[in-house]
């Protein structure tokens, strides 16, 4: 069985981001970019499934400008067998990504799709769900545990939901999106980094896949959250009551 993993190149999680002066977005020039942490977890899960013998191949897919190949190389260094890069210069929103992935699914025919639950730059949490809808495949989102049953061709997924943990059984092929507690991604070891240099990364454009990219979302403005006001040290309970009444107006 083939597993396809979608990975996104985002601003590194540990970077202190700054909003661009024209408020059109976040500063990405000269800023460290890395693989989205949830995508790392997704790739790690795919690799573990392959290592347990239940899958034969792991394909890492990324979409965007040419630098995405670096992210795919990281995925290959972790252990993915092949990479696919869909080259597109501008921003891609979840519905476009889902459409492109659907087209790739028709080419590659994987038995399982694993994605990160959301990207840390847009926090959309939509791609996996939209993709499952377009493919009409079952979906197990916010996965904190995945167990595959080869015979029954099904996956048992524990989902982290507000009320606790929900366990679902999905028939394969299915879409799974990963949550934080699923696993701890491995480091890329030197032998694998060297091997990754010779692994194949196939390039596509949206036209190759017959997908039309429509900008159905427009970013109007990006601003910083309001700065937290400095706390005030009060000297008596009376002063506290006065402030609560007259300044905060909560009593």
């Amino acid at each position: 069985m083939k597993i396809m993993v979608a990975i996104k190149r985002v601003v590194d999680y540990a970077v202190k981001i700054r909003v661009k002066p024209d408020k059109s977005g976040v500063e990405t020039q000269n800023v460290k970019m890395s693989m989205n942490p949830f995508c790392e977890i997704a790739l790690e899960e795919a690799l573990r499934i392959k290592e347990s013998g239940l899958a034969s191949e792991v394909v890492a897919v990324s979409m965007g400008p040419p630098q995405c190949v670096d992210t795919i190389r990281t995925g290959l260094a972790m252990g993915a067998d092949r990479g696919i890069h869909v080259e597109y210069p501008d921003a891609l929103y979840p519905l476009s990504v889902a459409k492109l992935l659907k087209a790739l699914v028709e080419v590659e025919k994987p038995g399982l799709l694993i994605l990160g639950k959301q990207a840390i730059d847009d926090d959309c949490n939509q791609t996996g769900q939209m993709l499952a809808g377009l493919l009409r495949w079952p979906q197990g989102t916010f996965a904190s545990k995945v167990i595959l049953d080869k015979e029954k061709q099904a996956a048992t997924v524990d989902r982290e939901v507000d009320g606790g943990i929900e366990t679902l059984s999905l028939d394969l092929p299915a879409v799974i999106t990963t949550d934080l507690r699923l696993n701890q991604p491995r480091y890329a070891t030197l032998p694998n980094i060297m091997k990754a240099k010779s692994k194949v990364v196939k390039k596509y454009t949206p036209q190759d896949l017959n997908v039309e990219i429509k900008a159905d979302l427009e970013v109007v403005q990006v601003t910083e959250p309001p700065k937290r006001k400095v706390g005030v040290v009060l000297s008596s309970v009376d002063e506290l009551i006065d402030k609560l009444k007259n300044e905060a107006r909560v009593i």
Partner: protein, 566 residues
């Protein structure tokens, strides 16, 4: 005999009192009763004198100790005796009788100039200010002062000098040789309240700030402006720049940015008599006269209190890569260092090593740490960091270097961190080792500069000497030839110490190394300087100390041997 008995009773009571303190449970082992005395050697101008450590709970020990020699000024008139509070070993230092004791007039005076809030006599705060980070040394100061300006520091010192009150300058209190805590009842002058950044020049990168600024805060401040501090150490969350400068702290980036002697452009210090010495230049080049700031850098607060620092900061470069590698023997580590310097050249920013025992310790005592190269432990690990301005170029360079190192058999395995999170996890293994050692129990810590080829031989000899008594853990800044040798045991024990000292110092001295590469001498090595410096040099140091601090009130009992100052 009479005097010894008297000493025994007062000091034993002190020891017992301190034993009942919850903080001390680790150190007061039942072994105290039965351990054998061991000595601390210091050479004084060619003659060897033993200072018998004080143990004294059992009267029968007295018989054994009757044949010891006392150096001239140890047999004293002074009543106060300080017991080094780790395990059973105590080197006897006596409180210098010429120092006055605090009285209520002093307290009122300080309250007048500093305000009530900044004169601390509260027991709990004093307890932590009196104890060093390793919980090895504890003073009995009754007063903690928190000046906010240089003028206040000056007034304090002027007054203390006139009254002959001993003082201890203190910053973040993260020193590892007992240099930042009182030995007896010295007044603690803590500069933590002087934590303002005075100015920062965005073009030249010159930062002027007060001595109480915490290093990590300075790093964040500069980060927002595209610069970094030229030094970085595990203690950055608590240590202050004044202390860093006073101890000439080395750290993880010395390999790339050099020592503080090169990066500090100027400083302002207050001398023992209260005189403010303004050497706060911000010039890169200034050859006018003797460069006095260098005296203060590394003098561990014994010549005066640093109040402001002017430091040159390097620009922050965007591309940082961290690789964590496994080597099968020490020889490979050395060759790797040579190759790294050659092949990585200008982008190499750190080269640290740790041995198998260090890794085992880190994995068992540090939280959230996992083995980057599972499943087994390798003999040696090397952490290499590169910092440059071009991500892809640096990556290529690093990978080419690693490939050739692997093909050459220098490394058996390794990882390259793929994002900042992985890089910090890997650094945490190395930076967290001091913390892991404290959690593991008793920790005898040595910081030595040795020729790189011989460095690990000492570790192996120590392992042979200690066998099953204790675990020897070694790590350090291999790029600078600096070994952090640590002996870890469940409890402090004289038998262990006897195997370590003076062997370690003698070995280092024989190999023309330094007995303190970066930690300083403080109290721990106050009498050991002659292992690494000539008597003539130490005599000159003593003269300088006498010149700048005639009454000897600033950080007494530390850095230089007692006998040479008086």
């Amino acid at each position: 005999m009479k005097m010894e008995k008297w000493r025994w009773s007062s000091a034993a009571h002190r020891l017992l009192r301190l034993c009942s303190n919850p903080l001390s449970d680790l150190r007061c082992s039942p072994k105290l009763q039965n351990s054998t005395p061991s000595g601390v050697l210091y050479r004084h101008e060619g003659t060897c004198e033993w200072i018998r450590p004080f143990i004294g709970q059992q009267k029968q020990h007295f018989g054994q100790r009757s044949h010891h020699l006392w150096s001239g000024n140890c047999l004293g008139e002074t009543p106060g005796i300080q017991n080094r509070f780790f395990g059973a070993t105590a080197t006897k230092i006596e409180r210098n009788s010429k120092f006055a004791t605090l009285n209520s007039n002093d307290i009122s005076y300080f309250k007048e100039i500093l305000g009530e809030k900044n004169v601390i006599q509260d027991e709990d705060t004093l307890l932590s200010a009196n104890t060093d980070w390793m919980h090895k040394y504890r003073g009995s100061s009754k007063l903690l002062l928190l000046p906010r300006t240089t003028e206040e520091v000056s007034s304090i010192l002027k007054y203390c000098n006139s009254r002959c009150l001993a003082v201890v300058p203190q910053g973040g209190n993260t020193g590892l040789v007992g240099g930042s805590v009182p030995v007896f009842d010295e007044v603690i002058i803590n500069v933590s309240s002087m934590n303002n950044v005075i100015s920062f020049d965005k073009v030249s990168g010159i930062l002027v700030c007060e001595a109480g600024c915490i290093l990590e805060n300075l790093i964040s401040f500069l980060d927002n402006r595209g610069f970094i501090m030229p030094l970085d150490l595990g203690a950055k969350g608590s240590c202050q720049i004044g202390g860093n400068v006073s101890t000439n702290a080395g750290g993880l980036r010395l390999l790339r940015y050099g020592s503080l002697h090169g990066n500090v452009l100027g400083l302002e210090a207050v001398l023992a008599n209260g005189e403010v010495l303004d050497m706060l230049g911000t010039l890169r080049k200034d050859n006018t006269g003797y460069d006095l700031k260098h005296l203060f850098i590394g003098s561990e607060g014994s010549l005066g209190i640093v109040t402001k620092v002017s430091i040159l900061t390097p620009p922050k470069l965007s591309s940082v890569n961290v690789a964590f590698l496994a080597c099968k023997d020490y020889f490979s580590c050395q060759k790797l260092l040579l190759e790294a310097k050659r092949k990585l050249g200008e982008i190499l920013s750190a080269f640290e090593f740790l041995d198998e025992q260090s890794m085992a310790l880190a994995l068992s005592h540090l939280e959230g740490v996992r083995n980057p190269l599972p499943p087994s432990l390798h003999n040696f690990y090397v952490l290499i960091e590169t910092t440059g301005s071009n991500e892809s170029y640096d990556r290529e360079k690093l990978e080419a270097f690693l490939l050739s190192a692997m093909e050459g058999g220098l490394i058996s395995d390794g990882i390259v961190a793929q994002d900042i999170q992985q890089a910090s996890s890997v650094w945490h293994i190395r930076e967290g080792l001091p913390e892991a050692l404290i959690k593991a129990g008793a920790n005898y810590k040595y910081d030595l500069s040795l020729p790189v080829e011989k460095l690990y031989n000492l570790v192996e000899e120590m392992r042979t000497r200690l066998e099953n008594l204790a675990t020897v853990v070694a790590y350090g800044h291999l790029g600078d030839g600096n070994l952090h040798l640590n002996i870890s045991a469940p409890q402090y024990d004289d038998a262990i110490l006897a195997q370590i000292e003076p062997f370690v110092y003698e070995w280092t001295s024989k190999n023309r190394g330094s007995i303190s590469a970066e930690h300083g001498l403080g109290l721990m090595k106050a009498n050991k300087i002659l292992y690494s410096k000539s008597p003539a040099a130490v005599n000159l140091m003593a003269s300088i100390k006498k010149l700048l601090d005639p009454n000897g009130i600033v950080n007494p009992y530390k850095v230089l041997p007692q006998s040479m100052i008086h």
